[in-house]
Amino acid sequence: MINPALVGGATMRSVSGPHLGRRKPCNDWLELCFVPVRLQDHIRFVRARKDEPVENHRSSPLVKARYLRKALLTEVFLMKTVGFCYIFPIILMFLAVSVTAQNAFTPQQKTVISGFEDHAKDYIKLRERIDNTLPNLPKKATKEQIQAHHDALLKGVQHERFGAKQGDIFTPEASVVIRQMIKDEFKGRDRADLRKRVFEGEDTKVRVKVNVEYPESKEVMDMPPQLLLTLPQLPKQLKYRLVGTYLLLVDRENEMIVDYMTNALP
């Protein structure tokens, strides 16, 4: 604490309004000490005069800047709170509508899918016709009976479908729709997981050809339930199988590749 008496009777003048902004000569060295802190005092002064009309203390650029910042923050806050309240539900609704739209097929797509299912059923009819000519395979069969039935059914179907080619069941139109179904279902992390799972399997090197038996020595990649719930349902005698980027239709009993489509993976 400085004793004014010790400095030649000089009095410490308070920095008040009328002095601000003016280059008033100050002979008192104590007053000089206050010069570097003038800006802070300016602020203190503005705060002290809050009750005065706004125009009076908004004249300083510093105060203007402060008010501008405050105003901006208030605007942003309002945008964040009020705007978010309206915008977020709208985004959610939009997402819900788009997801529903993805799952709902257009009449044209429905026709394509039902055409695919009809082609699959046609194969089953052909297969049943051949199966009916073979000795019945009991539900508790010997290993020899199973092998004999498998071989006979495979041979019969291969003979009957001689000349069958890729795209007979997975028609180009059906492939497009199914590809889209898979793409819609597997996005982001799911998509990456699916690809990882498929390419980890040892079956990726299997030679895929229509009317040929799937190599029995190879493991079968388990079909993700999510994918099976997405794809069109097949007759009991057929199943889907993923081999690399191919989606196969395989006969459950003779393990024959009935048809396949390419680039099935998203």
């Binding site: 199973i146 092998q147 020595s217 339930p225 393990e255």
Partner: protein, 311 residues
């Protein structure tokens, strides 16, 4: 921005998007290590076992064995089969549950003989029945094989002593099968419900690990319909998983092949594991308790305990 997003998401999840699945109150399962209660081979004839039986070995209880990933045709498969045969004398199980990959590679008639019939001839000759499910190495035609007792179906159910066993095909979990499981479980009045299939929803195996997609579809259904115990394979290890929502999961995929040291030791799922040799499980149901003892290829007990039935 983040805070508002979180508040919104929390609000929405708690109000509208939460699935209305009624979950039964969780009953904690006491897994008691029964090392302190050694039980001698009481029911069967005298036989020298490499390690004593710890199960109750009661007269009228249901006794089964469980293993998986067996059909390699390799010498180790035969060694496990021999050890099972030894234990069957003291612990007369009459059923074996196979959790898939019953025949690896080629599955012609000769393969069925070398990879299944030959190793287990002595068990079959004692009237032991095998109940298989399909793994990712199995042909769909195995469902017709008389010794697998699958009744020509890829997924099926059988009852033994008032206990329901569900064999599922986890390689092809389609809508048809999921509907079947839900319908059968909903109508099931048996006290014990046991499921077995190949791909493990929970596993600490480094090679495959947990099949999360399978978990997503099956685990909620198991909780809802009161499945007590689930046996799986695929990872060639033995692992007892910590009870998940009251359900006890086992991975028993080292019945014919082993992935040595494959268990992730830092996995939070593991209650006990064994990954240094092949193994099979002995299981006994006594009223509301399921006792188990896991035996290695050399006959050592590597895990044991008891699981209480869910209420």
């Amino acid at each position: 921005m983040k805070r508002h997003l979180l508040i919104y998401l929390a609000l929405i999840t708690t109000t509208s998007l939460m699935p209305s699945v009624s979950v039964r109150p969780q009953v904690s399962k006491k897994l008691v290590a029964s090392k302190n209660v050694p039980v001698p081979a009481a029911a069967g004839p005298r036989v020298t076992l490499p390690s004593p039986l710890r199960l109750p070995v009661e007269k009228n209880s249901l006794k089964i064995a469980v293993f998986g990933d067996t059909g390699s045709g390799k010498p180790e498969q035969y060694e496990v089969a021999r050890m099972m045969n030894t234990y069957q004398i003291a612990f007369p199980f009459d059923a074996v549950i196979m959790v898939g990959d019953n025949i690896y590679g080629s599955n012609k008639a000769t393969d069925m003989k070398a990879k299944f019939e030959d190793p287990y001839t002595s068990l079959e000759s004692k009237g032991v029945k095998f109940y298989a499910c399909l793994g990712n190495h199995d042909s769909s035609n195995e469902r017709f094989y008389e010794l697998f007792n699958m009744k020509g179906e890829e997924y099926y159910k059988f009852d033994k002593n008032g206990i329901s066993f569900y064999a599922l095909n986890s390689t092809y979990m389609d809508k048809r099968q999921l509907d079947w499981i839900a319908t059968k479980l909903a109508a099931d009045t048996n006290k014990w419900k046991i499921a077995f299939f190949h791909h493990p929803p929970f596993s600490s195996g480094r090679f495959h690990g947990s099949d999360k997609k399978m978990r997503e579809v099956l685990h909620p259904m198991f909780i809802r319909y009161g499945v007590d115990v689930v046996f799986t394979g695929h990872d060639h290890i033995y692992e007892r998983i910590k009870p998940q929502d009251g359900i006890q999961y086992f991975v028993t995929g080292s019945g014919g092949q082993l992935r040595k040291g494959n268990v992730n030791k830092s996995s939070p799922l593991t209650a006990a594991y064994f990954d240094t040799d092949l193994a099979f499980m002995l299981v006994e149901f006594v009223k509301d308790q399921m006792y188990f003892q896991t035996i290695s290829r050399t006959g050592q007990t590597v895990d044991s305990g008891v699981v209480s039935r869910r209420d």
